[in-house]
Amino acid sequence: MPYMQAVRKLVMWHLDTEYRPSQAFLFPDADEAVIRLIEVSDVIPETGEFRPLKFGPTEGIPYETIVALVTPGEWRMIQTGQLALPQGWDLGTAVEVTEEAAA
């Protein structure tokens, strides 16, 4: 499965839930080995920390996947540099994956 197809599939899964994230951003991997996503959710508590979760490749998504859920406030902190991202997560290359783009 091509990298971007897997990205769209994963984001569609997330957007298809009742408590869907309001926004999803892909932090592309130039080697197309890892899918890195930040999703903005107003369901979770705000802690001011960035703790992404890692998932191994599966039959459905055959790529290593790292997903971070953040609150709208934490996303603003990331955008203004108040909340640092790990190495390799370049805000300048982040691409919003919308429902239309994912479909």
Binding site: L10, Y19, R51, L53, F55, G73
Partner: protein, 182 residues
């Protein structure tokens, strides 16, 4: 240390072990062990919270399944732990009640009670600790080991999608932000 503080400390420690086991290859660490620590962490977190809000803790494993409804009705707590939109979180918790109970039913005690409710024997409930048995139509009783079993709850806890992911992040952040509960 109070009872509540002790449950919270143990919940945080169990959760760290869950994370370590989750990172290991499944060929090295079976699903049951990952889920066992997740179930223990969430049960103790729930018992700390029950103590905080004045509910009896008891010696039962039925705890995590009770807190979804309690938290859904306590927007003051949701606000205190940093939920940006408490009504939305409350609706999620009310809807995720089945996920909470799916985790709770991983313990042998709760799995046994669930089996009995279905008219089965108490040792016929799939759980993360002890072997259970099922009736095979041709050969009779067949025993199963947790270490060799695939649990639907594993997908809930570890998949990169769906409400299970939101629940997992919610639990993790509740553990982090617990001290802000009034």
């Amino acid at each position: 240390m109070t009872q509540e503080e002790a449950f919270l400390a143990q919940a945080r420690s169990d959760y760290l072990v869950f994370e370590r086991l989750q990172e290991a290859a499944r060929s090295d660490v079976s699903e049951c062990h990952v889920l066992h620590y997740y179930q223990m962490a969430t049960e103790k977190l729930a018992k700390a919270l029950l103590a905080r809000v004045g509910h009896p803790v008891g010696k039962t494993h039925f705890a995590f399944g009770r807190i979804a409804a309690i938290l859904a009705g306590r927007q003051d707590i949701l606000t205190a732990i940093g939920c940006p939109n408490p009504p939305v979180t409350a609706r999620f918790l009310a809807r995720a009640d089945a996920l909470f109970r799916q985790i709770e039913n991983l313990s042998p005690d709760t799995a046994g009670k669930a089996a009995k409710e279905k008219g089965l024997a108490a040792d016929q409930g799939p759980n993360v600790e002890y072997p259970w048995w099922q009736e095979h139509p041709a050969t009779g009783p067949e025993w199963l080991a947790p270490a060799a079993h695939t649990f639907p709850a594993y997908q809930t806890v570890t998949a990169a999608s769906g409400d299970g992911l939101t629940l997992r992040v919610f639990v993790e952040r509740l553990l982090q932000g617990y001290d802000r509960i009034p």
